[in-house]
Symmetry: C2
Subunit: 193 residues, 2 copies
DNA sequence: ACCTGAACACCGTTCAAGT
DNA sequence: ACCTGAACACCGTTCAAGT
């Protein structure tokens, strides 16, 4: 990449991060180019699709989640690893409002720039779930895709201003549904019933 | 309302129902007016906001849900009434893709045309929940707003093409989290774990 | 009263023309 | 190689002009 192109690319990412944080995943790309002081075509050259831009914005978070999954697999109990990682996933997807809808769409769209990352996420979820299931700590009638869906639903919930105050609490409710009685006894916030 | 106005109003609703079913809650209002063979201003005269149009489209379903809540309160066991009504809510909100986001936004926006209906829904949810809680059938650390949020999250899930096949299954998972052990023993699909 | 559609200010996306 | 911005086809929303 030529030096001037690299400079545009980097600056576009900085500006896009701010604009998408403000306006969400359906932010105006025109506005991004405008604020970056760059022609609209330049943005499209570097990021041919909205997904490509978001992928670049999210890549660091995705990589961190993948590393954290591997780490948790050896450092924590199966049930704690699973729940803790799910919480991190929700936090990551929540970074940009509305991006989770594109992520769940990407998992079945091999053309999407987000496809590979999302498939990797789901694979990590599947591994952590399998470990918890093998230990009798997670119900066995769900799979990685179900977890991915629940992460999406909980992220969506946190994206809605009127529901956001409940997001943490409801994360706990859903997490308790994933775990077995045995795990609930050994784990986190005292289960009631 | 003048006879010609009434005719336009009714026809707009029929056309809007089809267009919103196709395109979702962010359907093109221009397209609705165009397909109805009516000026754009006519649509705005009858439905000053998108919410007003959706409210008209959803009113029948809302009324039915309210009636069903009252009926279930006397005809079914507390846990069956609650779960069955929640299922109906999700089905109703799922009728038009994306409408659930406007519904959850409306619950805190007294200016929204959807506000009253959503507050009524939440009140019905609160009553059914309280009845189940009093019978020891539902966990007591959630309230009607939490239920409303979970309905929203499950509806969103069903709105996503890649997750829709899991929506029914995950409804069961979340429903099991709302019920107590006692209710799970007495209720529906055999709980595992 | 009610209807119409032009007008305005925005989009996303493409692509010929420039450097 | 890379950048620019006009061009095109869409939006939502308003409002003067018509009937």
């Amino acid at each position: 990449m030529r030096a001037d192109a690299k400079k545009n690319y980097d600056h576009l990412l900085v500006v896009a991060s701010a604009v998408v944080a403000e306006q969400g995943a359906d932010a105006s790309l025109r506005d991004v180019a405008r604020r970056a002081g760059v022609g609209l075509g330049t943005l499209y050259r570097h990021f041919p699709t909205r997904e490509a831009l978001l992928e670049a914005l999210l890549r660091a978070g995705f990589d961190e989640l993948a590393a954290r999954a591997a780490e948790l697999e050896t450092s924590s109990s199966p049930e704690e690893a699973l729940v803790s990682w799910l919480r991190d996933c929700v936090a990551c997807a929540h970074e940009y409002r509305g991006v989770v809808a594109l992520m769940v769409a990407a998992i079945e769209d091999t053309e999407s720039a987000l496809h590979a990352s999302c498939v990797t996420m789901r694979a990590a979820a599947t591994r952590l779930l399998a470990r918890a299931q093998a230990a009798g700590m997670a119900r066995t009638d769900i799979d990685g895709t179900d977890l991915f869906a629940l992460i999406g639903a909980l992220t969506w919930l946190g994206d809605q201003p009127s529901l956001a105050p409940r997001a943490d609490h409801l994360f706990g409710v859903v997490a308790s549904a994933i775990l077995t009685d045995q795990a609930r006894r050994s784990c986190a916030p005292r289960p009631q019933s």
